[in-house]
């Protein structure tokens, strides 16, 4: 602690920790910045003091609520870093976190099983993942408009005993529309109703827990086990 108001920028004889704290806060006066940066590069102890302050101060961000950035931000970022180069579909499938190798293989199979090797989807392909960690349930959904089919693959988990999994499509500001009960086998293929197919990119897909035979009311009656926003691959 010092009362000297004219602490030299190189911190010689001054309170290093104050200088480190100021630096971490971005308060270092412009004329002191150069020497201080130099010190940061050469003086490990000083660098550690700055890092410790950055760590202390970062808790000021704890209360800041996460805000989902607009989807275009991610696309812009990728364009800026990686240019217009199109990424292979397989790589793009990785955008979901927590997706397993097995799921990736199955997703690839879903996407390409009907295609000959030189065929590439022309229209945008949409996909999402619906999962519920507590239930150990993961369902991968890929919609290829050129094939007019929503292909589902349950890569993990299944229905509760004596119950079924029912799939729902939810358009923005609309009630869920049932796409049917998922079969016992992991793979399923669903044709989207035309009005939903047109807006495939805006849909959210959800799965609910329902009595055998599916929801008796036409709306989800049991617990919604998971939902995923469809995004363009």
């Amino acid at each position: 602690m010092t009362d000297d108001l004219h602490v030299p920028g190189d911190g010689e004889g001054a309170d290093d920790d104050s200088l480190a704290a100021e630096f971490a806060l971005g308060l270092t006066p412009a004329d002191e910045l150069g020497p201080l940066r130099e010190r940061l590069r050469t003086d490990a102890e000083f660098a550690a003091a700055v890092a410790a302050w950055q760590q202390r101060l970062a808790s000021l961000a704890d209360d800041i609520k996460p805000v989902k950035p607009p989807r275009r931000a991610h696309k812009r970022l990728n364009r800026r870093l990686f240019g217009a180069e199109r990424r292979p579909l397989l790589q793009k499938l990785w955008v979901w976190q927590g997706i397993s190798f097995a799921a990736l293989g199955l997703a690839a199979w879903i996407s390409f099983s009907d295609l000959t090797p030189d065929q590439v989807p022309t229209a945008p392909v949409y996909a999402t993942q619906i999962s519920n960690a507590d239930e150990g349930l993961t369902v991968l959904a890929v919609y290829d408009p050129s094939r007019e089919a929503l292909v589902l693959n349950r890569t993990d988990g299944g229905a509760r005993a004596g119950r079924v999994l029912e799939l729902w499509a939810i358009a923005p500001d609309a009630a869920p529309v049932s796409l049917g009960v998922l079969p016992d086998v992991p793979n399923a293929r669903v044709t989207l109703p035309e009005d939903l197919a047109e807006i495939a990119g805006t849909l959210t897909l959800a799965i609910s827990d329902e009595p055998e035979g599916g929801s008796p009311t036409g709306a989800p009656t049991g617990e919604v086990l998971g939902a995923g926003e469809v995004s363009e691959l």
């Binding site: 602690m1 010092t2 009362d3 108001l5 004219h6 309170d15 920790d17 104050s18 704290a21 100021e22 630096f23 971490a24 806060l25 971005g26 308060l27 270092t28 006066p29 412009a30 910045l33 940066r37 940061l40 590069r41 490990a44 102890e45 000083f46 660098a47 550690a48 003091a49 700055v50 890092a51 410790a52 950055q54 760590q55 202390r56 101060l57 970062a58 808790s59 000021l60 961000a61 704890d62 800041i64 609520k65 996460p66 805000v67 989902k68 950035p69 607009p70 931000a73 991610h74 812009r76 970022l77 800026r80 870093l81 990686f82 990424r87 790589q91 990785w94 955008v95 979901w96 976190q97």
Partner: protein
């Protein structure tokens, strides 16, 4: 919101990003962009500017991920510090046309903390809120103003209506009592 499991996950992703793994970079973005966008928005208070700052932040992360492992900060601290500093650079550039404070330098160079130091710093960090409450009100407000609003000494001095050097002295005193409180 970021427990030990998330910490591990984010750490692993940054490690892969350092190896130029674009898939991991996407994963890192998915896992952290909402928090970082929140931080950028808090500092800049403008959606378009926050979007730009967040983009700059991820560009820096992509280009400097290899520096992460050696600098000992917890992964979220590292990411948040880059986002905060980048936002403040942008805020100041808008205000004065120059950036006084180079965020890449100040965040990414620091090679310093040993794992022990890092653990101490992390446990200290949890006390920050309580310790800030224990500071004189104006001093706590000045620390917050500098961190979250990018206020300079000059701006803080005029806000609290004290001479510049007085401001510097009492903010430093505030910071040192803060450190004492956090390490006690």
């Amino acid at each position: 919101m970021f427990g030990a499991k998330d910490r591990k996950k984010v750490e692993k992703l940054i490690g892969k990003v350092a190896l130029r793994d674009r898939v991991a970079f996407d994963g890192l973005y998915e896992a952290t962009s909402a928090k970082l966008f929140g931080v950028c928005l808090r500092v800049l208070n403008d959606k378009a500017a926050a979007e730009d700052a967040m983009q700059d932040t991820y560009v820096k992360i992509w280009n400097n991920a290899d520096r992460y492992q050696s600098n000992g900060l917890s992964p979220m601290t590292w990411l948040i510090t880059i986002a905060r500093n980048t936002s403040i650079d942008r805020l100041r550039a808008k205000k004065s046309g120059n950036t006084g404070f180079d965020s890449v330098e100040s965040t990414l160079v620091a090679p310093g903390l040993t794992p022990e130091q890092s653990a101490v710093a992390a446990s200290e960090a949890r006390k920050l809120q309580k310790c800030l409450d224990g500071l004189e009100k104006d001093r706590a407000a000045a620390v917050r103003g500098a961190y979250l609003d990018g206020k300079s000494y000059a701006e803080l001095a005029s806000r609290f209506d004290v001479p510049l050097n007085t401001m510097r002295t009492w903010l430093r005193r505030g910071l040192m009592s803060l450190r004492e409180c956090m390490s006690s």
